[in-house]
């Protein structure tokens, strides 16, 4: 009982991270049909700039958090104006733009390498890491904060998408950008919002997950791949399906690692995803997209 509790809690924590990255990827995909290969780099930038502002510059907590989110938002704007817009103007298909975001990810890693170097760095924790008991479970405030933030951001995204006029515009753009434009929705702004909002989410993820993962400039790729797998497993069409996919992946990963061997956790996950895709080509919850083809 003790063990399964710990395993599930660890899975849920990782799942929140994968789920939020998957949610970000799916949000951008929902507005412009582009998969952002640089999503994990936003998390990396969040982690690394937390080190910069909290340790190197020793800013107080709130200004430091604001500065971190500022860095991530600037990076999102750079991605939109430097990569997405120019490629779109030249009529590039979505898969080419995806390769463009891959180039952006390499650039972000390269730039971060210049600033922070290749070594693993200590990341300051916003919340204490001491063990505490919640009922039968042993956990720490950082872990709980990640899960709570995950739930809160999910709720916020749901509210935004389904309870506001703006959310209606986002969903309309997702269904058909051209028709939405003809209906007077400024789809460009929607796309920009998608980039900014998902970067913000990733920045918050970076702030929270840094102390658990440690800061290293190459950490982005792994997170991007896990986020993708989450989005693909759940279904790219809906942010919530993507988040659910992330939780599922992390839970399976934690269970395999806990009861089998952690060595084979990753290959087993990918094999499972591959098999699920054979039976549900648009993801577990991806009926919406299937209908559009």
């Amino acid at each position: 009982m003790e063990q399964i509790g710990v395993i599930l809690l660890a899975g849920l924590t990782n799942g929140s991270v994968y789920g939020l990255v998957g949610l970000s990827i799916s949000l951008i995909y929902g507005t412009n049909r582009v998969i952002n290969f640089a999503q994990g780099e936003f998390v990396m930038l969040g982690v690394m700039s937390a080190i910069l502002f909290m340790v190197t510059c020793a800013l107080p907590l709130l200004p430091a958090i604001a500065a971190v989110l500022g860095v991530v938002l600037v990076a999102a704007l750079a991605l939109e104006f430097g990569v997405y817009q120019p490629l779109l103007r030249r009529g590039a298909p979505p898969l080419t733009i995806m390769i463009g975001t891959l180039a952006a990810a390499i650039i972000a890693t390269g730039a971060a390498l210049l600033v922070w170097g290749p070594l693993q760095l200590y990341v300051p924790n916003v919340l204490p890491l001491e063990a505490m008991r919640v009922g039968p479970l042993i956990t720490n405030p950082q872990q709980i904060a990640i899960i709570v933030v995950f739930a809160a951001l999910l709720a916020l995204t749901w509210f935004l998408l389904y309870r506001t006029r703006f959310g209606l515009c986002i969903r309309a753009t997702g269904v058909n950008a051209r028709v939405a434009l003809l209906m007077g929705i400024r789809s460009r702004r929607i796309v920009r919002f998608g980039f900014l909002f998902s970067a913000l989410i990733s920045g918050i993820v970076g702030l929270l997950v840094g102390p658990l993962l440690g800061g290293q400039v190459g950490m982005g790729v792994t997170l991007t791949v896990k986020g993708f797998m989450a989005a693909i497993l759940g279904g790219l069409g809906s942010p919530f399906a993507a988040a659910a996919g992330g939780v599922l992946i992390a839970l399976v990963e934690a269970l395999v690692a806990g009861y089998g061997s952690s060595l084979y956790a990753e290959p087993i996950i990918f094999a499972l995803i591959l098999m699920i895709l054979f039976f549900r080509p648009y993801g577990l919850l991806g009926d919406f997209e299937a209908g559009r083809h």
């Binding site: 979505p94 463009g100 952006a104 390269g110 290959p267 990918f270 591959l274 054979f278 993801g283 083809h293």
Partner: protein
């Protein structure tokens, strides 16, 4: 045929020139390191011709080509370890690649665009994961040694190996030109354009997708065997992310859906980092910036750029009957 001749790019003329140039190269090189680079250019050409047929011509993206690259290399290494001679191990490892592709290709090719990309990426990741963890068979992260190539009792030197690679690369280019120049090429174009329309015109979409997928992964496996022979070892890095990035970069820099894009891209991508190492820490950053600049300003890669240049220079002379030049995207 008229149109093809008008462009001066028949099926065999340019590959012949490439063959001659490739055979001259070793006489101009001074060190073994340069010879190694030239061999790697050939290997990347073979690998990326496969990717180009699959994505550039048929529009089916696979991000698992590095998996087949590593699969070919590992199959060859394991078979040679089991005592198989070269002429049996090479076809056998290609058959392994083809077999695996057939098995995973049938369900995989039901997927489209991003889903296909991610599912094939899954395959690549599984392969890299297993290769680095199944230590008893694959040697783990350290990999395995591949003995120097011996054909009929004769120990093949690095230069001879290079000649072999050049000949294979040119043969692969010829095969690609043949496919693209015949009705097969039209079928592949139609798959990229619109599968439903292709099907309504009588194209067996599933069969052709599977064929081109098998061909491209066999070429990836062939390149993998070549790389194993040149490096004299295999290790899990063969199947990891950087190789995928290299494939994408070669294809984008050279030009997707062009005949000699793979070769041009391979030359640039192999040689450019030699210049970039001078920049030290800036290397990764510059690599990314260059990739982005190519995407932005040469959407058809070097190949498209050169073609546009040739057309601008020579068009006035060839203006008489002016066959309409269809520049493939």
């Amino acid at each position: 045929m008229n149109r093809i001749h008008a462009l001066g790019t028949g099926i065999w003329q340019i590959p012949l020139l490439i063959l001659l140039a490739g055979l001259v190269v070793p006489h101009l090189l001074s060190s073994g390191f340069h010879l190694r680079l030239a061999s790697i250019v050939c290997i990347y050409t073979i690998l990326c011709v496969g990717f180009n047929l699959l994505y550039g011509y048929a529009g089916q993206i696979s991000m698992g080509q590095q998996g087949f690259f590593a699969l070919g290399a590992y199959a060859y290494a394991l078979l040679t370890q089991a005592g198989w001679p070269f002429y049996a191990a090479l076809p056998a490892s290609l058959l392994v690649c083809a077999g695996v592709t057939l098995v995973i290709g049938v369900p995989l090719l039901r997927l489209r665009s991003h889903y296909l990309a991610m599912a094939s990426l899954c395959f690549g990741l599984i392969f890299a994961g297993v290769a680095s963890r199944w230590i008893d068979v694959t040697g783990g992260t350290a990999g395995m040694m591949v003995p120097s190539l011996k054909v009929a009792g004769h120990l093949v030197s690095r230069t001879e190996l290079y000649y072999g690679l050049v000949v294979i690369a040119v043969a692969v280019l010829l095969l690609q030109n043949f496919i693209v120049g015949t009705h097969l090429g039209r079928v592949l174009y139609s798959l990229r354009g619109d599968e439903t329309a292709a099907e309504s015109l009588g194209v067996n979409v599933t069969a052709y997708k599977l064929r081109v997928f098998v061909l491209s992964s066999v070429l990836a496996g062939l390149a993998g065997v070549g790389f194993a022979l040149v490096s004299r070892q295999v290790n899990p890095s063969f199947g990891e992310f950087p190789i995928l990035v290299t494939i994408l970069t070669v294809s984008v820099v050279g030009g997707l859906g062009t005949r000699y894009g793979a070769l041009l891209g391979a030359i640039v991508v192999v040689l450019a980092p030699q210049g970039l190492t001078a920049f030290g820490d800036l290397e990764t950053l510059l690599y990314g910036v260059c990739l982005l600049l190519f995407l932005l300003f040469m959407p058809h890669g070097l190949s498209g750029f050169l073609r546009a240049l040739c057309l601008r220079l020579f068009r006035p002379a060839a203006a008489k009957p002016a066959p309409r030049l269809k520049v493939s995207p």
